[in-house]
């Protein structure tokens, strides 16, 4: 099937946000009605998460007319549940480690504050962490538009989920900024690396990534909780396992939501930058509003604030988020440059020089009328155009080049 890549990315990231909003709704039900010990609840969620991921990965491995169900429904590169590859282990460990730190940070937050709802919105700042990280690790630096959009979405997300009902202190903010957000960032960045890995010459699939990820994260988290239990004499790990089976129905509903949310998120990570994917996924805040209205109506969580100031602040937050995401979607400019060379210049050298230009995502040495075809991705046309063309002019040996802006694009997936 050949479809517009841009649409696919937003469909994936937004579906992930919807599934996430659903899962956090169920999370609110379980933690307010059944399980009040956050550490045990966390262990229970991970344990049930592993079971759910296993069950669904097996169901989706069933083959139907030559293709697995998973490859039809979720990710075309999924074949069947498989054992972890050696090249994946390092990234899976790092990603699971990030996930475990983030989870533990969250438990600590819950244990020092009765109601951390004031500090939780600041976890949305993770988008900015990702922007910063990408400027170091990825080839293309974030452009002004990307930084702007990231800031707009982040502030929108904070305003959209803001709450004045809980407590706040310096320690809790430090945990959010120094433990939870970095953990989240590490986890996202390595999930993206995993998705970009090639397994047997085919792109890695998000279902296997998620399954091994949740398994590793469960083991690491349980290890940390066990150490904490031994040192403090508590019984969180055991309670968690007991809860997992006692409330299996509820937690598994949440687990299904989380599983699909993350599988779709990982697949989107394979298409777009981690910061942009995270920004689109943060729209979960918008989708969670109807969920919390229903839950408040059923008296499961405190009633939804109808204070006009709060409604106005949240409304502004949501408008900012939508604007930020629209500007991500609309400012990306792609182009091909066809290059003809003068004879007598080494191809590999020129290739390297072309590759080093910022914004170049693909360099192909070709046989035919042209010598190179390069693909460009930039966010600001005038600036990007000028910079790229200037760099191109500095390369010796180029006879002629043609810039062809891409208007629309379809891709096989």
């Amino acid at each position: 099937m050949i479809i517009r890549k841009k649409y696919l990315f937003y469909v994936l990231a937004l579906s992930s946000a919807v599934a996430n909003a659903f899962a956090s709704g169920v999370d609110a039900v379980v933690s307010s009605l059944f399980i009040h010990d956050p550490w045990a609840f966390g262990v229970a969620c991970f344990l049930v998460g592993v079971i759910i991921a296993l069950i669904f990965s097996i169901i989706l491995s069933i083959r139907f007319k030559d293709k697995s169900l998973g490859s039809k429904a979720i990710d075309p590169s999924f074949n069947h549940l498989r054992f972890i590859r050696r090249e994946e282990i390092k990234y899976q460990l790092l990603s699971a480690f990030g996930n475990a730190i983030l989870t533990i940070g969250y438990y600590i937050l819950l244990s020092i504050l009765a109601d951390p709802s004031v500090v939780i919105p600041f976890t949305q700042m993770v988008i900015l962490y990702l922007v910063l990280m990408e400027s170091i690790t990825e080839k293309d630096m974030p452009t002004l538009v990307e930084v702007q959009s990231a800031l707009i979405v982040t502030f929108g997300a904070i305003l959209g989920s803001i709450s004045f009902s809980g407590d706040i202190n310096l320690l809790s903010l430090a945990i959010v900024f120094l433990v939870i957000n970095p953990g989240w960032m590490i986890s996202s960045i390595y999930q993206r690396k995993l998705k970009l890995l090639k397994i047997n010459g085919k792109p890695n699939d998000s279902l296997n990534i998620r399954f091994w990820n949740v398994l590793f994260a469960f083991l690491i988290t349980s290890g940390i909780v066990l150490i904490y239990d031994i040192s403090s004499g508590a019984n969180h790990l055991l309670n968690g396992i007991i809860y997992a089976f006692r409330f299996f129905n509820w937690i598994s509903i949440m687990g299904i939501g989380t599983f699909f949310s993350l599988v779709l998120y990982i697949r989107a990570l394979g298409i777009g930058k981690a910061s942009v994917t995270q920004a689109v996924k943060s729209t979960a805040i918008i989708f969670s509003i109807p969920v919390s209205i229903i839950l408040a109506y059923l008296n499961i969580i405190p009633s939804f604030s109808t204070d006009p100031t709060m409604v106005a602040i949240r409304g502004i937050g949501i408008i900012l988020m939508i604007l930020g995401i629209a500007s991500y979607a609309l400012t990306l400019v792609k182009a091909y440059i066809f290059i003809e060379m003068k004879p007598g210049y080494p191809i590999l050298d020129i290739m390297r020089k072309l590759w080093d230009i910022r914004g170049v995502t693909r360099v192909a040495a070709v046989a035919g009328k042209y010598d190179f075809i390069i693909k460009i991705r930039t966010r600001t046309l005038v600036k990007g155009y000028e910079k790229i063309i200037r760099k191109l002019n500095e390369i010796e040996g180029i006879k002629k080049y043609k810039w062809e802006s891409v208007l629309r694009e379809w891709e096989k997936l």
Partner: protein, 93 residues
């Protein structure tokens, strides 16, 4: 930064990847795209503004198949001219 050389993953060693640059008659773009989307081995279709109208990226097993794909593209109503560029080496993100 991820470097993927054609020989280690993105493209199987025996595979041929090529760009087919096409020029269309004015007003025939939408129909031509619909036709191109039906062709096997087509990886990507980009509508561009410039000397060419559509850049098609194809991946085939051998030259015979490449000829077949080029042929099918040339047969599409509205396609005026095609230029095939076979990729010898590639670096991509």
């Amino acid at each position: 930064m991820v470097l993927i050389a054609p020989e280690n993953g993105l493209v199987k060693e025996s595979m041929i990847t090529a760009y087919i640059l096409t020029i269309l008659k004015p007003g025939s773009a939408d129909k031509a795209i619909q036709e191109m989307r039906k062709i096997d081995h087509v990886e990507k279709i980009s509508v561009v503004a410039g000397e060419y109208d559509i850049v098609v990226r194809v991946q085939v097993d051998n030259l015979e198949e490449l000829l077949d794909v080029t042929n099918r593209i040339q047969m599409i109503d509205g396609v005026e001219k095609t230029t095939t560029q076979i990729i010898e080496k590639e670096i991509a993100l």
